[in-house]
């Protein structure tokens, strides 16, 4: 047996059969990659999602899907949750059992979520300003590291909120927000978010607005005046789409801010006892009480219990597919070798050892398997690298 000759002949044979070799390698690679890839992806998703859930003690939200609440409150994902009033957050903080951090993640700037919150959020998540400064005035925003990188944003640039309904001419105008700071990268969903003060988020929601001074408005804009001196203006009045030091004083809220909506509130209990009391209070209150208090880690446990159950079934099915693929590949090899019987006889007649012919066949099969493993490994590595973006996309 001559190893160098076997490698040479085997290599030549595989190269001369590119379609067959490629198809076999691709089929085996995919069959090997799928079960491994699914397990790897679920494992990475679990680590990613659980780590954020584990660092968030409690989450307050409106009654409904606890999972949607966690995804919206922690990952700022799209599915909109029923609103929770600001009053609820103040109530939970009032008796000293906990501190609430408001989250309003309903709006977008392009495809990035705008998160209305308070400065407590940055302290709680350990978010540091890398460039510029922290939020200080109504209408400002700081952006996550990825948003800044992808959009090429720097302090002093402007971002515009996306209108909720493009064809609603009577709706709220998009708000142009100055970028005052860029956050340090964390590898989490904060990198892909635009942060504003919760009051700015309410401006975007149309619950507050600023316009030219009614008292100094031209008569043509005045629809009427009441006895108290209040002026009613028509729709031609100029509404501001950017909050500046010059016009900030004209911005005002309509309605009671206690009734203004939030998506959720991160609840930081004062201690373990406070946590237990709060859990009991909201458990007793029932789901129709207007709020629910969930432990994100427990919600993730439930989610992954289901995911793992499904994963086991899917992986078992894929392993069976891989085995079937292996059997089919072996069959292709057997049939191919049967078709090559004449060639093998020629080699024997010329003087090749039977062991040389066996080694040639084994080398070709081994080379296809090795190439399949290499392709499967490359696919797995690519999935490993792409997993964070994929998880962000799936939870976004």
């Amino acid at each position: 047996m001559k190893e160098s000759g076997i490698f040479y002949l085997g290599g030549r044979y595989l190269r001369r059969q590119p379609a067959k070799t490629t198809l076999l390698v691709a089929a085996l690679a995919v069959a090997l990659f799928l079960p491994v890839g699914i397990m790897l992806f679920v494992s990475r998703a679990e680590t990613h999602l659980r780590s954020r859930a584990a660092t968030t003690p409690l989450l307050l939200g409106a009654p409904g899907s606890a999972l949607e609440l966690v995804f919206n409150g922690l990952y700022f994902s799209k599915p909109e949750v029923a609103p929770l009033t600001q009053r609820r957050v103040h109530e939970i903080s009032a008796d000293g059992l906990a501190r609430g951090i408001p989250i309003l993640a309903r709006f977008r700037a392009g495809s990035d979520p705008i998160v209305g919150t308070s400065l407590d959020y940055f302290r709680f998540r350990g978010l540091e300003i890398r460039e510029g400064r922290q939020l200080a005035r109504l209408g400002e925003c700081v952006v996550g590291a990825r948003v800044a990188r992808e959009r090429g944003l720097h302090p002093g640039d402007r971002l515009v909120s996306a209108p909720e309904a493009v064809f609603d001419l009577a709706g709220v105008y998009p708000l142009k927000m100055p970028v005052v700071g860029i956050l340090d990268a964390t590898g989490g969903p904060d990198d892909a978010a635009v942060f504003v003060d919760v009051k700015t988020a309410w401006v975007i929601a149309g619950l507050a607005h600023g316009h030219q001074d009614a008292a100094k408005a031209e008569e043509s804009l005045v629809l009427g005046r009441d006895d108290a001196g209040a002026v009613e203006l028509n729709a031609s009045v100029v509404e501001y789409t950017e909050i500046t030091p010059e016009n900030v004083s004209t911005f005002h809220f309509h309605g009671d801010p206690e009734d203004f909506p939030l998506s959720a509130a991160i609840v930081l209990p004062a201690g373990e006892k406070a946590r237990t009391l709060l859990r009991g209070r909201y458990q007793d209150a029932g789901r129709d009480d207007g709020a629910q208090l969930v432990e994100p880690a427990a919600v993730m446990d439930d989610l992954f219990a289901t995911v793992f159950q499904v994963q086991r079934i899917v992986v078992a099915a894929l392993v069976l597919v891989a085995v079937a693929m292996g059997v089919i590949a072996a069959l292709v090899f057997l049939l191919s070798n049967r078709l090559r019987a004449r060639e093998f006889e020629s080699l024997r007649n010329i003087g090749a050892d039977p062991s040389t012919i066996r080694a040639l066949v084994l080398f070709e099969g081994g080379a296809v398997l090795a190439m399949s493993l290499a392709v499967a490994a490359i696919l797995t590595a690519m999935l490993w690298l792409a997993a964070p973006a994929l998880i962000r996309h799936l939870t976004g």
Binding site: M1, K2, S4, G5, Y8, L9, R12, Y13, R15, R16, Q17, R342, E343, S346, L347, R348, N349, I350, G351, A352, D353, T356
Partner: protein
């Protein structure tokens, strides 16, 4: 001196009544011998016995001083690839190797042969002398039958064997190419100083051979 010597050779295919009995055959070194006979008379069988592909039930076959019939299977394989050049009727080139690689095939599969620059040079020279040098990077599927035969001849000669055995190598060629092919084979074997044994059913194609024997006439047919 005899390059090939057969004595009292008996061969029988399992389950068949036909038996090949060859009392004696001696072929001199450097001789070009043509063996003719009708289809089924045992020409290919005799050639395969001489090559050591088949093993006789009795008798003795000597090639280049080595008793081939007494060698074990692995030793026969080693002996054949190093010392005997074979040209088959269908040429039996490997489709996935180009012309040059087909010529060098014995060096790829035999541990007793070492692939070196001399072997490559010899292969190139053979392709040149047989007129297929320009086709060295082509694959067998892209060649005519005549070109394939030349490549098969180069493969048989590249190891510088003492004996070349050709089994109806012109059977699939047109008459013009048959004559040219046989002439080239004879000249190439003579140039290499090799003994040439060619079997064919066509007596007329053996002009220029040192000797032509009719196989039925040298076989013992007493029991067939």
């Amino acid at each position: 001196m005899a390059a090939i010597r057969c004595e009292n050779v008996l061969f029988r295919y399992p389950g068949e009544s036909f038996a090949l009995r060859l009392p004696a055959l001696a072929i001199d070194s450097g001789e070009a011998l043509g063996i003719v006979g009708p289809s089924g008379c045992g020409k290919t069988t005799l050639l395969r016995l001489i090559a050591g592909i088949l093993q006789p039930a009795a008798g003795r076959i000597e090639v280049a001083g080595e008793c081939v019939s007494g060698l074990a299977f692995a030793a026969r394989q080693r002996f054949r690839i190093a010392r005997i050049g074979l040209v088959f009727q269908e040429f039996e080139l490997l489709d996935y190797l180009d012309v040059l690689d087909n010529v060098l095939l014995p060096y790829r599969i035999a541990s007793v042969l070492e692939m070196d620059d001399a072997a490559r040079g010899r292969a190139e020279a053979l392709l040149e002398s047989t007129g297929v040098s320009a086709l060295r990077n082509r694959f067998p599927g892209e060649l005519s039958q005549g070109e394939r035969q030349r490549v098969a001849l180069c493969r048989a000669l590249v190891t510088r064997p003492g004996v070349i055995l050709a089994d109806e190598p012109t059977g699939s060629l047109d008459p013009e190419n048959q004559a040219r092919g046989i002439s080239l084979m004879r000249e190439s074997a003579a140039a290499a100083g090799a003994t040439l044994v060619m079997v064919t059913h066509d007596h007329d194609s053996l002009d220029g051979f040192d000797r032509v024997v009719a196989l039925p006439e040298i076989l013992d047919r007493s029991e067939n």
